[in-house]
């Protein structure tokens, strides 16, 4: 295989990825994470801890804490950034141009893998710089040991990012995983990797954390004299009291450890290249029928009678052009009238357009279940279920115009705010319809706080989706943000319970008024962002 094209392909794709707003959003989140990973001495949260202890903030400890937090975040959030590299080539038709070049399929996939990996690695680089800054800011140990600081980034985080980049390529080449289903599946895959990977017995060392924790426990035991075998925890956790620092100067790399990390990278490369066996090189005749329609500036001539049933590609309806003479201008006079109802109906159609009948079957089954189960399960089980099921549909809110290339056309239409409100309204309608069973059950039980929380959810979810869709111009960010929030609610974290699912003695314990305010603020921000973007792009 001639590899000379690889650097050029990779560089082009990398630049395209990092110039997208979503890259910046995830990058900023990574910097924020770098801050969270090194809390102040009196901080009541922690990301990495051994029982009630944490390491002194030297290069080794700050490096490990930040690298592991970064690995977890970039495995999840980073995946959504580097997705769609191949889909974008298909949408822009660059793929067809590339397909007609001598570039081999494996080389093309390798370039996609490498550019994804580089995009994630660049975020990790920023995170490493944040770690260095945080070590200096916290000031517990200002001695900079770059090797100790960077080692965990290289041996723990990078192999996982390689795996993430490979998964992004693999998911894009498997039809069922290309869309939102793949996004949801990856959320749970990342969850399994993040939680299961902390175990020392995880395949290939999992996150690679075992070596560091063994070394930390040994250091703690040495410092305390005994009892250093505390429970290791990784993940944002609230603590009642600030943790006690102990001295830890890093871990040694062993040959076996390095080999297992290297093996992860090899597996990642293999996974990324595997689709060469089936990848269709942008052949439209192998494209899915649901792909978005778009009129390019110079499209092929109209497939009229020339494009019959024998023509390759998706079936195109054949039409018979009317005689040139049969030209009658419309005679109906145009009258103005009330339009919001029709706009809302149109937005609902657009929002749920193309949804599989099976989706509706499951939605109906969930609704029936909502009427059948005992009262406590309605809010604890059915409500979270019905409000995760439409996640892929909600994620269309705010970004549909962009993703369907409608901005140019609608830019010349009046009633911008009314259309935006109707789009949000369609999300509200969908959320309410899906949550109708819990609504009725709570109404029958006179559960007023529950009803108030339900309404907060109905307003909060579409507002969040609208804001993220308008700002980030992609459906993926909502999916990446909503799923963790929902996961926390399911895990009974009351602070983020926007729907009234977390209960104490039958009453919702979440900050319901806060979610009303958040919904209003986010809706207002979405309007403002749309207006600002419109002015800027004009």
């Amino acid at each position: 295989m001639n590899l000379s094209a690889l650097p050029g392909l990779t560089a082009g794709d990398f630049k395209d990825r990092v110039r997208r707003p979503v890259y910046l959003v995830v990058l900023l989140a990574a910097v924020g994470l770098g801050y969270l990973a090194v809390p102040p001495a009196d901080g009541r949260w922690v990301i990495l801890a051994l029982g009630e202890y944490r390491g002194t903030y030297n290069s080794a400890y700050v490096g490990v804490a930040t690298a592991l937090a970064g690995a977890l975040w970039l495995t999840l959030g980073g995946f959504y950034v580097v997705r769609k590299g191949i889909a974008r080539d298909e949408e822009t038709r660059v793929g067809q141009i590339l397909a007609a070049t001598p570039v081999r399929t494996a080389l093309f996939l390798a370039s996609k893998f490498l550019s994804s990996f580089l995009a994630l690695a660049s975020m990790l680089g920023v995170l490493a710089a944040t770690a260095l800054a945080m070590q200096l800011v916290r000031g517990e140990d200002r001695g900079i040991d770059l090797v100790a600081l960077l080692k965990p980034f290289l041996v723990m985080a990078l192999p996982l990012l390689a795996l993430t980049a490979a998964a992004a390529v693999l998911f894009e080449t498997v039809p069922v995983l290309r869309g939102g289903v793949g996004n949801v599946i990856w959320f749970f895959v990342a969850l399994v990797v993040g939680i299961g990977g902390q175990s020392s017995s995880a395949p290939l060392g999992g996150l690679g954390v075992g070596r560091a924790t063994d070394s930390m426990r040994a250091a703690l035991t040495e410092e305390l004299g005994k009892g250093g075998d505390r429970a290791f925890s990784l993940g944002l956790t609230q603590v009642a009291e600030p943790l006690t620092p102990f001295r830890w100067d890093g871990f040694e790399l062993g040959g076996g450890f390095l080999a297992s990390r290297l093996l992860i990278v090899v597996i990642a490369v293999a996974l990324a290249l595997l689709p060469a066996l089936w990848f269709g090189r942008f052949d439209p005749s192998r494209a899915r029928r649901g792909d978005a329609a778009r009129v390019p500036a110079e499209d092929e001539a109209d497939a009229g009678s020339l494009a019959g049933a024998d023509a390759p590609g998706p079936a195109v309806p054949v039409y018979r052009p009317a005689p040139t003479a049969a030209l009658t201008l419309p005679k109906t006079a145009t009258e103005s009238g009330g339009t919001f109802g029709r706009l809302l109906a149109g937005e609902v159609r657009i929002l749920v357009g193309g949804v599989s009948p099976w989706w509706w079957v499951v939605a109906a089954a969930l609704t029936v279940t909502g009427f059948a189960v005992p009262g406590d399960l309605v809010t604890g089980l059915v409500l979270p279920a019905v409000w995760i099921w439409p996640v892929l549909i909600w994620s269309r809110l705010g970004s549909q115009q962009v993703e369907h290339g409608m901005e140019g056309l609608l830019g010349a239409y009046p009633a911008v705010r009314r259309r935006l409100l109707a789009e949000w309204g369609s999300g509200v309608v969908l959320t309410a319809v899906l949550g109708v069973a819990p609504l009725i059950r709570m109404a029958l039980a006179a559960d007023v706080p529950g009803l108030a929380a339900w309404l907060a959810g109905v307003l909060f979810i579409p507002s969040l989706a609208m804001l993220l869709g308008v700002v980030c111009r992609t459906h993926r960010v909502f999916q990446a943000v909503y799923l963790p929030i929902w996961y926390l609610v399911v895990n009974k974290v009351a602070a983020v319970d926007f729907m009234g699912a977390v209960r104490d003695a039958g009453a919702p314990t979440g900050p319901t008024p806060l979610f009303y305010a958040a919904a209003l603020l986010m809706l207002g921000a979405a309007f403002l962002a749309a207006e600002t973007r419109r002015n800027l792009s004009a």
Partner: protein, 300 residues
């Protein structure tokens, strides 16, 4: 009447897409011609209120559209060069949505959509989702949406791209009919698209309006300056380096060239009547030559 007064559009990075352009458009069709990158699409977006000019004024019937773009949107039909659709809607649903966005009452929207679907010859395909439409069919949906609100101003950017020859003729005739009592602006780089329907032609390059006039006026500029010559294939590049060549046909006797030149390029050159393509090239190349040096307009 639509007035463009000293319109300038400068994009981020300093690219000046439209540069101090002024023109007035009354009822009738103006064909806007220009090479790729001339600023045609930017100008069309400005007229259709999608893009705000960096400076200058756009006025319709006395109303300043740069300050109040909504004043025209209800009465504007805009067909961009490149546009998308919601793929899961049918053409009828798509047009119904856009009619609501335009502010049309339910009754008039329903009747008008049916008329338009018939006009663009899509009645047989109305039940299919737009994702199943060909490029040309989608273009016709675009044409239909541009006519939804019975627009007084119609702005169409490269409207015939993707249409088959018959539909292309049909659409040109439609625009011609519409232009009787409306402002119609048709942008294209296909000279034949405007040749047969536009009574008023504007030629644009480098963001500036180079020439405006009736086709006869533009062609009149080149009267006595268009020649046909037959040359040996080996001399074609030498001729091209000295003259603007508007057409080239290889024949068994040699290569027949159509050349723009103030003087006969060779001794046995035959003078021919200029057509609009010659006139267009004359304007464009003349402007380029004037920018580079002061050589005669039709000679390189």
């Amino acid at each position: 009447m639509l007035e463009l007064i000293d319109i300038t559009k400068v994009y981020k990075g300093g690219k000046r897409a439209v540069d101090g352009l002024s023109m007035t458009l009354g009822h009738g069709m103006v064909g806007l011609l220009g090479p790729n990158g001339a600023g045609k699409s930017s100008l069309m977006r400005i007229i259709s209120t999608v893009t705000r000019p960096t400076s200058g004024t756009l006025r319709y019937e006395g109303t300043d559209l740069t300050a109040d773009p909504n004043a025209i949107r209800r009465h504007l039909g805009y067909l961009p060069q490149d546009f998308g659709v919601y793929p899961h809607l049918t053409s009828r649903e798509f047009l119904a949505y856009l009619a609501a966005a335009k502010g049309l009452s339910a009754r008039s929207a329903k009747a008008r959509i049916e008329e338009l679907l018939e006009l663009v010859n899509l009645t047989e395909a109305v039940k299919r989702p737009l994702r199943a439409y060909s490029g040309g069919m989608l273009r016709r949906v675009g044409i239909a949406q541009a006519l939804l609100g019975d627009p007084r101003v119609i702005v169409v950017d490269e409207p015939t791209a993707g249409l088959d020859p018959e539909e292309r003729v049909r659409f040109r005739n439609l625009l011609s009919d519409l232009s009787a009592d409306r402002v119609v602006m048709l942008s294209t780089h296909i000279v034949s698209d405007v040749e047969s329907v536009a009574s008023d032609i504007a030629v644009m390059a480098g963001g500036r309006l180079l020439r405006r006039g009736a086709p006869e006026e533009l062609m009149g500029d080149l009267k006595g300056r268009v020649w046909e010559i037959l040359v040996d294939p080996s001399t074609v590049s030498a001729v091209q380096s000295h003259y603007v060549v508007s057409r080239m046909i290889r024949t068994s006797a040699g290569v027949r060239l159509r050349v723009l030149s103030a003087q006969p390029p060779v001794g046995d050159a035959t003078q021919v009547a200029p057509d609009l393509e010659d006139a267009y090239l004359g304007v464009i190349r003349g402007a380029a030559d004037r920018r580079s040096d002061d050589r005669p307009a039709v000679r390189r």
